[in-house]
């Protein structure tokens, strides 16, 4: 599921919407403890924003240092890999809800991205990955000539 096409454009649109709906339902139903859990598609949960020239992926990764994060892009696939370190001074836990350790998430986009123009930034525990479509792959505007 982690490798699903993000936007579901084309033939799979309806299935994609259904899947998204299922995930949202699960997201809500998981709140019986009041703690939200990122169960959809893997960890971290990802939101995607589309623009004219590319896409921005965001993921909540509080406590992950920028140095412990590795983002790579190949053709239409983006991989986020990293680790969240456990605290060093912990003696005994009363409560342990925060996920720790290694994570990896691979996301397939509906278009190839320019691997030379991937930007990643951590802002207050939220990761922003900006991906651009290669210039030759961008949709071209076709002028309709009046006949």
């Amino acid at each position: 599921m982690a490798r699903g096409n993000l936007f579901g454009m084309g033939p799979g649109t309806f299935e994609e919407m259904q899947r998204l709906q299922d995930e949202i339902n699960r997201l809500f139903s998981s709140s019986s403890t009041g703690v939200r859990q990122a169960q959809s598609g893997g960890f971290p949960a990802v939101n995607a924003y589309a623009g004219e020239h590319g896409v921005v992926l965001t993921a909540e990764l509080p406590g992950v240092r920028a140095d412990d994060l590795d983002i790579s892009a190949f053709r239409d696939t983006v991989t986020m890999r990293g680790t969240r370190r456990p605290p060093e001074d912990a003696k005994g836990y009363h409560r342990r809800e925060r996920r720790q350790g290694d994570f990896i998430r691979t996301i397939t986009l509906p278009f190839a991205v320019d691997p030379n123009r991937v930007e990643a930034q951590m802002v207050n525990g939220v990761l922003y990955v900006t991906l651009q479509r290669p210039p030759e792959d961008q949709p071209r505007r076709i002028k309709v000539a009046a006949g």
Binding site: L6, F7, L20, E23, I24, L27, T33, G34, V35, R36, A38, S40, G41, A45, V46, N47, A48, Y49, A50, G51, E52, V55, V56, E60, L61, P62, G63, V64, R65, P87, D89, A90, K91, G92, Y93, H94, R95, R96, E97, R98, R99, M122, V123, N124, G125, V126, Y128, T130
Partner: protein, 140 residues
Amino acid sequence: MTDQQRDKTTNPEGAEGVGAAQERTERTRSRRVHAPATDIYETDQGLILLVDLPGVVPDAINVTLEQNVLTIRAHTEDRPPPGYSLVHQEYLPGDFERAFTLSDEIDAERIEARMTDGVLRLFLPKVGPAATRRIQVRSA
């Protein structure tokens, strides 16, 4: 977890009437409110709370302690990158709120809070051994 550290968010009808009523009445924004994932652990000096508050700037956090109820509130500004629109959503950004009832051994005066990479770290120092005080009994 001791009884004193019972979390009211999993216990909304709990006995902590004051705090619970406050939570119900202070909701003025119509945003989604999440209970943030929290670790609580012991160190030699006291308790540490690690609270995940992604997307929260330090100024937007409000930590209060009233009658042993530690309340953490934080709000986020959910701004899509300019020129982009949301097409796929797996998590719902929102505000954060959670309350914990502390045991008496916490020295409320020396609580420290620090925010790093979207994680709030609260240090709750234990009160040192109470100095025994001799009470002189005077004869009338």
